[in-house]
């Protein structure tokens, strides 16, 4: 699941987090922390959604196969 695209997203989120922490006393630093949170949150949400849909699809096809084999 942890592929090249996800590594990129996490690296970007980490960079913004570090930049945000180092500029935390400024409004810009706060915005960078928000950007970091958005990228990290979106990445986790997107992957979990994809994972859930894969599990659902997997379960549906397994169920269909079982029913066909039972006949």
């Amino acid at each position: 699941m942890f592929d090249r695209t996800m590594s990129f997203e996490f690296t970007v989120a980490l960079c913004y987090l570090i930049a945000g922490i180092s500029l935390k006393s400024t409004p810009v630093g706060f915005s960078l922390l928000v950007v970091s949170g958005v990228i990290f949150g979106a990445s986790v949400l997107w992957r979990s959604k994809t994972l859930v849909s894969r599990v659902k699809n997997g379960a549906a096809s397994a169920s269909l196969r079982y029913r066909q084999e039972s006949k």
């Binding site: 090249r4 695209t5 990129f8 970007v12 400024t26 990228i39 997107w46």
Partner: protein, 316 residues
């Protein structure tokens, strides 16, 4: 706490769109505001060009065009090999990120004016020049990787030339730039409309852009997390390239901020229109979501204050 008035109007628009408030800008008004901004920036740039025209400016322009060629080439492998997007979409999006956004440039100008930072107004010339190369590189990339078959028909060539030389930005900004250059002494006659009202018109434009960007937020779910990561990273990468170039070109602090903003911006007017003609099979809604729904708000809310803070801290 002081917040930039342009950013405040943009946020208001976004909030209104998220809250589904009934605010509707007539399409004609939005087009009028865009036309106004292009003419105002072009005129201002033309006047500055008349004062600063020199062989140095010619070589600066050549360097900036080369930057416009380099940016899509940097963006393409990230999109195609890290984001694993189809090659044709990667080429189309790369073209968007190699080109520039007049709206973002207008915000940067207003921001610098509000902060009292001086800049080279002739950078408007670079805005016009940067419209073109990215479109050509995007199309060349798509053909190189075999995402678009080579089509040498006369109609296609004519469409390409038409989009390159007669797109809205090229005609209005380029035209106003030439008018400003040739009619320096008469520009004062139109100053009350095009210069004095600039900040107010920009605020209206940003309100509309905020509404549009807010409406695009729903599309982000489809675009995926990579689109968000790329849409916020590419401006910074491209901004670093532009900043490095501006530093070696000897631009002032304000000039560095403007060139960085230009590099960081992504087109959402000229390039989408060109790509629809040149790469009709690309996913155009994805590229417009990324440039308008992610990169434009990122640059307006975070990018421009960030570039200004860093450049004034380390390069002035």
């Amino acid at each position: 706490m002081q917040i930039d008035i342009g950013i405040a109007f943009f946020l208001l628009g976004m909030i209104a769109a998220i809250a589904r408030a009934e605010i509707q800008f007539p399409k004609a008004l939005y087009q009028s505001l865009t036309i106004f901004l292009m003419i105002a920036i072009g005129l201002k740039g033309g006047v500055a060009l008349a004062e600063h025209a020199s062989p140095t400016l010619f070589w600066q322009s050549v360097a900036v065009v080369l930057m416009g060629v380099a940016l899509p080439i940097i963006a393409f492998p990230i999109l195609a090999y890290i984001g694993k997007l189809p090659k044709i979409d990667a080429a189309s999006i790369a073209a968007h990120y190699g080109s520039v956004s007049v709206g973002t440039y207008a915000v940067a100008i207003a921001y610098l004016d509000a902060m009292g930072i001086r800049y080279e107004s002739y950078i408007a010339l670079f805005v016009v020049l940067l419209e073109m190369p990215a479109i050509l590189v995007g199309m060349a990339l798509a053909r190189l990787v075999g995402a678009q078959r080579s089509d040498n028909s006369a109609t296609n060539k004519a469409s390409l030339l038409h989009e390159l030389f007669f797109n809205q930005g090229m005609v209005l900004m380029g035209g106003a730039l030439i008018i400003g250059y040739l009619s320096v002494e008469q520009v004062d006659n139109v100053k009350p409309l095009f210069i004095d009202l600039f900040a107010g018109v920009l605020a209206l434009f940003l309100l509309e852009m905020g509404i549009t960007a807010g409406k695009q937020l729903g599309s982000l779910k489809k675009a995926g997390s990579f689109a968000i990561a790329f849409g916020t990273t590419m401006p910074v990468l491209a901004g670093i390239v532009a900043l490095t170039l501006g530093y070696y070109l000897g631009l002032s602090t304000g000039g560095l901020i403007l060139l960085t903003t230009l590099g960081a911006s992504a087109s959402y007017i000229a390039v989408p229109a060109a790509m629809r003609v040149l790469l009709p099979n690309a996913n155009h809604s994805l590229s417009i979501t990324m440039s308008l729904g992610i990169t434009f708000p990122f640059n307006v809310i975070v990018g421009i204050p960030l570039y200004t803070y860093l450049i004034t801290s380390y390069f002035s």
